[in-house]
Amino acid sequence: MKASLIQDRLCDVVYQIPLSANYYRLGLHSQIDQFTPGQFAMLAVPQIAGVLLRRPFSLAKQDGPITEILYKVVGKGTQALSQVDVGKKIWMLGPLGHGFNEIEKINEGIAVAGGYGIAPFYELAQIRKNAQKPFTIYYGARTQSDLLYLEQFAELGVTLKISTEDGSMGFHGKITDLLNQDFAERAPQKIWSCGPMGLLSAIKKWSAAKQTDVELSIEEAMGCGTGICLGCVVKDQNGQYIRACKEGPVFNGASIDV
């Protein structure tokens, strides 16, 4: 996949669609060529009440010149972002970092996602479909309303394995329990995973036990997104701090300490 050059562009907001559970789909006229799922962008959310830094968001989908972001309102930056109306403009710096690997190559790859960790798998599912490879997503959430993109995944022919903590949809329990159930005998060929740190640690452990290849997209507070602030580090296997935004956010599971 050819890499797109990083750009910082003032993008028109072409859609801003409220979903359930305080999630939104944001469409930005970014004119990005393409990106690798797992790559992200730094958005300059409105600088309300002293907000200063940009906020990192996974790139969820590219549709011609339009980039989609799936985001959840969790604090004042995302709150301010959700108030930006269609027709207004937002600065977007991206695509940044390194995405998932071997997306088109692996035959039996699965994704494990939690929360807004689902975002990169929208584009990833598209790529798998184009490459005519099957794709299964294990998707864990607290409750049914936290599950996004279900229709889109259905359209892309993705097999969805859902678990919810409260049992309101799919398997009742943790996503790792569901994995244990489905892969009792064998292991998936490769796992791409994105979600909260707790999930990533669990998946890393699980994969190690299964001796399966795993890539983790990790989430750290980010100051710059470009590798210059050293605010987003994670320990590598040698105990050295490496940058989530530059060397990551997608890492080989074995190479980092989560």
Partner: protein, 303 residues
């Protein structure tokens, strides 16, 4: 004849805009994006004698119009810098200011010696560092210690010696005067202001180190004040730092007395900001009919 260059004593910059230490990496990160050689100079991430791991996470937190960092001076060490990072900067003909720090006086001297036989144009002495031998008291907070470290580094480094001052002191003017007398060629100010944010859920500091350094627009009025006061007290050139985000901010610092300025946190929020401000400042000076940036410096009235 319009001349955009700036002379800080023996240090010539092609323009007055410097990338601040710790906010532009080693110049390679924004490479695709930004012609580093266009900068007046690049101050490197702080270099120590040995590589440093840095602090545990979290290391940064946003605050109203600012941010706190406690990176813990993670860096590759001065030797690896010279070997692996400097060549790219040399190739691109960047004016390099090596920002250095030590835990002891000896470490400062050792690093300076190593840099003396390198191509870096200048040293920026970061004295806002706890002195392990003096029980953790920061070099930069004690006028005497600040003078001693300046004097000793002066002896072993013959090119431009810039000393970076801490704002966390009762009188920055007193320290500035002592450091000037000890042989500094220029002063850069300010470094970050010590600060803390508490996570009210976990009841722990929001950064692992407890306290960290506040930077960004929030501290700009503090920095401008300190530059104006210091300008009245010393003869050596001053480099203004703190919360610069737009042209008007640069003008404030220059009017207050800064011969050059550094851009820090803004590089995070807008990675092309330094280039934009270089262009805007040049246009402004021309529009105002000034023949060099120097004509603005210290033009503050009524103070």
């Amino acid at each position: 004849m319009f001349d955009y260059s700036v002379k800080l004593k023996n240090l010539k910059l092609k323009n007055p805009v410097i990338a601040a230490s710790g906010t532009f990496g080693y110049g390679e990160e924004l490479n695709d994006f930004f012609p580093v050689e266009n900068l007046g100079a690049l101050s490197t991430k702080g270099l120590s004698l040995k590589p440093r791991l840095g602090n545990p996470m979290p290391r940064i937190i946003e605050t109203p119009s600012g941010m706190i960092n406690a990176i813990g001076l993670q860096n590759v060490g001065v030797e690896a810098f010279l070997e692996k990072k400097l060549p790219l900067l040399e190739k691109r003909q960047v004016t390099v200011i090596a920002n250095i720090f030590g835990n002891t006086l000896e470490e400062y001297i050792e690093i300076a010696k190593i840099l003396e036989s390198s191509s870096v144009a200048a040293i920026e002495l970061n004295i806002s560092c706890p002195n392990v031998k003096a029980g953790g008291m920061e070099f930069g907070n004690d006028p005497k210690m600040a003078a001693v470290v300046t004097e000793e580094v002066r002896k072993v480094f013959s090119r431009h010696l810039m000393v970076k001052l801490s704002p966390n002191v009762t009188s920055i003017v007193e320290i500035a005067k002592k450091v000037e007398a000890a042989g500094a060629d220029s002063l850069s100010l300010i470094n970050t202001v010590t600060a803390m944010v508490i996570n009210t859920q976990s009841k722990k500091p929001m950064i692992a180190n407890g306290v960290g350094g506040l930077s960004g627009p929030a501290i700009r009025p503090i920095a401008v004040r300190m530059v104006a006061q210091t300008y009245q007290a010393v003869k050596i050139p001053i480099v203004g730092i703190g919360g610069i985000t737009e042209l008007n901010d640069i003008l404030e610092f220059m009017i207050a007395g800064a011969a050059a300025i550094q851009i820090g946190t803004s590089n995070f929020t807008k990675p092309k900001i330094a280039q934009e401000l270089i262009d805007q400042l040049q246009n402004h000076l021309k529009t105002e009919g000034l023949s060099s940036p120097q004509e603005l410096v210290g033009t503050l009235e009524g103070f």
